[in-house]
Amino acid sequence: MTATPITDLAPMKLVIVGHVDHGKSTLIGRMLHDTGSLPEGKAEAVKAMSDRRGMPMEWAFVLDALQAERDQGITIDTTQIFFKTPVRPYVIIDAPGHKEFLKNMVSGAASADAAILVVDAKEGVQEQTRRHGYILHLLGLDQVVVAVNKMDLVDHDQARFEQVAGEVRDYLAGMGITPSAILPVSARHGDGLASKSANMPWFDGPTMIEALDAQDQKPLPVELPLRFPIQDVYKFDERRILAGRIESGKLNVGDTLLFSPSNATAQVQSIEAWSVDGPVLSASAGQSIGITLNDQLFVERGFVASHQVDPPIQTNVFSARIFWLGRAPLEVGRRYKLKLSTLEHPVEVQAIERVIDVADLSERPADRIERNEVGEVVLRARAQLSLDEFTANPRLGRFVLIDGYDMAGGGLISMDGFHDLRRSNTPTSQNITAVETRVTTDARWAANGHRSGVLWLTGLSGAGKSTLALELEQALFRKGWQVYVLDGDNIRFGLSADLGFAPKDREENIRRVGEVAALFARAGVLVITAFISPYRSDRDRARAVAPDLFHEVHVNAGLEICEERDPKGLYKKARRGEIPEFTGISAPYEAPENPEVEVDTGTQTLSQSVEQLLRYVEANFGGKGS
């Protein structure tokens, strides 16, 4: 077998980044020339262009093909340039240095295998050196060669080189990047690019080309768990083909696939292909394929096929590190369209945890993320999304956000502090089939973004149950919760209109409240009840209706305090004997023995009590960990 010629190999993708005017385009132009990769006549053309503008040989003109660019002297857009060394071909993505052009840099750097970070020997590390370095880190690009350029302008001084090299090394180390090499070069003169520099005999490291040839090409994620996001479903002929690209892992004919989010399973009947020799029996990461199934499941674009072992995470809330390119800032409460592989779904910004200053890697709280800033946010969707953490599987761990018509940012997913909701969703019964579409409480929780249940407030008259319930309801509702208060006002007038205040009637009233609260809770609502409910046995019965959802809250203020407050004048009436069997006066109050929560409304202010219950609710019913 003859070896494949260098020219026929997949090129390594290089991105060249760095501060404006630190010499990126010059470095590229000169590398093309020094590796013999320039088309015939191009060097002469560049010479002519330079002469016409009264400049010395300007290698940057090799790339600056557009009229507008040359006039501004700034590389406007991502350009792709091919060159080859004796080891392999390369395609260079020339990233711009101008501050507002982050989107072009990301467009280029996101697909790169390795990066060259260019730093001016005289100016050292500048704002965009840091910013670009940080973006490389965000995009997971960890193969970085640093070129300390324009060494001719600092008299090829070793001490200055060491100083700049140290600066770069320190900054990159802060993000966990160790550069593969830091090289002194003078791109304009070709010093240190394809050959060692006679001007810098003190440097015994590799040339730029040698350093690049030592980098590794990113392997396809064949060894990761299978992720096959459905791109489309075709029925051009009798076949029903699920088309898509395998993002990671591999699949074989006969494999059982699990489809998220429906959780239905089916076997791969065939892998369809046109104009290939023989049947295709397996496919792996990177391939755009089509499959047929042995079962006509409902499957559409955005579904993710995996194996039953190691499926993607399902969640409707997650945190993400975001780089923002949008003209309008990212703000809490704003809605965007999320695109993750082939999935598209609206999401809302629930919180902005912090903004990261890429200049010194410091973090600060913020309520918005401006254009070209980086931050950490919590995003919430109305349905469960199938995804991975970026560190576990980059292909399904990254997404973009669309604001209106425009791609406004990119993000990397972290599930730190959030649950994978799949465990509670996956049907344990083998008999459940795709046609069964029962809406489970879990599914409602997923849609609402929180769990539901009954917060059963019990306490003496005047302890503040109703006030606390209504305040809590309002606070949760503002945060987007499905929440409802049941109290005497809305129960007694309807559901229990037939009941009086005799002990038997009270018991029946509480029984009804317990049943209704459980129904609300099963429907996905967080119910807050506010009844004195003095008898342990009544409360226990209410708990028994939905034991997994029931949380008893003792709203506790001493009798003296309640009697002193006496907002409705009931204690006075009771003392006068006008109300028979008044709890605390002429009837007992059986305080809870082990309530889930005890709220001391006797000493706490109302806002303290609301705050206490909010924290309890967030911790026990929220998307975040309990």
Partner: protein, 264 residues
């Protein structure tokens, strides 16, 4: 997965994204090697079908071999071909240099087809390595109402997330071959045994590397009379692919002006 497999998979992915996103789209068939490869890739993507019309703007000045090729393969490949004549030269911007003005007939013809068929998107087989302004392109490249290209403010494009949300009136050019090189195209033609017009193969020491209209396309010196020899030639050559295309070379910015106005 080798290099050609990776290129193919990426192009198939792009074509499927376009087909999913646009109800009314077409694919340009210039009869050159690249658009043949592109149609081949469409049939790969859609399992032997080309589920949208194939568009051809006829300048009336293509080589006879090209018309013969079209006649044969539109039936053999099961293509729904829509042909329209390009407008006459008199209707084209007279300030353009002569060859560029001639080439601009195709731009104008394309605009009229797009308007007539109310196309949301057309697929074009341009490649980044062909020409510097094409290197700046996006895979999904939005055009304004008048088909013009604003290369100064292009949408971000990364992680294979293409621009698929647009204001009404926006038109999209889809470029599934953007990441291919001329050599890749020929290696793929060899592997897949894709037919091409004979003019690419050398006769009497000359061959065409790039095909356009008869009067503004010139052959280059070459003895490569088979696909294998063309591949061997391309591994060594330093002559630019479009050196035989007159409109690229009339002025430093001629091609850029053509493209900003909507040329492929």
């Amino acid at each position: 997965m080798n290099h050609l497999d990776a290129l193919e998979a990426q192009s198939v992915y792009i074509l499927r994204e376009a087909y999913n996103k646009f109800d009314r789209m077409g694919i340009l068939w210039s009869l050159g090697k690249d658009s043949n490869v592109m149609l081949w890739l469409a049939r790969k993507a859609f399992f032997g079908h080309v589920p949208f019309p194939t568009l051809f703007c006829d300048t009336g000045k293509k080589f006879p071999e090209m018309y013969a090729f079209q006649k044969r393969y539109k039936d053999e490949w099961g293509i729904n071909l829509i042909v329209r004549d390009c407008p006459p030269i008199e209707e084209i911007d007279p300030t353009l240099p002569p060859a560029a003005r001639s080439a601009a007939r195709k731009t104008e013809g394309l605009k009229r087809i797009i308007a007539e068929l109310d196309m949301q998107a057309v697929v074009a087989g341009i490649r980044r390595d062909e020409q510097a302004t094409r290197a700046k392109e996006r895979v999904f490249s939005p055009r304004g109402e008048n088909a013009e290209w604003d290369f100064r403010d292009q949408p971000p494009e990364f992680w294979d997330q293409f621009k698929t949300d647009f204001a009404p009136g926006t038109h999209i050019r889809v470029h599934p071959l953007l990441h291919w090189t001329e050599l890749d195209i020929w290696l793929y033609i060899q592997r897949e045994r894709i037919p091409v017009v004979d003019l690419y193969f050398a006769k009497d020491g000359k061959r065409y590397r790039s095909l356009g209209d008869v009067d503004i396309t010139f052959p280059v010196d070459s003895d490569a009379d088979t696909v294998e020899k063309i591949i061997a030639e391309l591994r060594e050559t330093k002559v630019a692919e479009r050196s035989g295309r007159a409109m690229d070379h009339e002025a430093e910015d001629a091609f850029e002006r053509l493209r900003s106005a909507g040329y492929m």
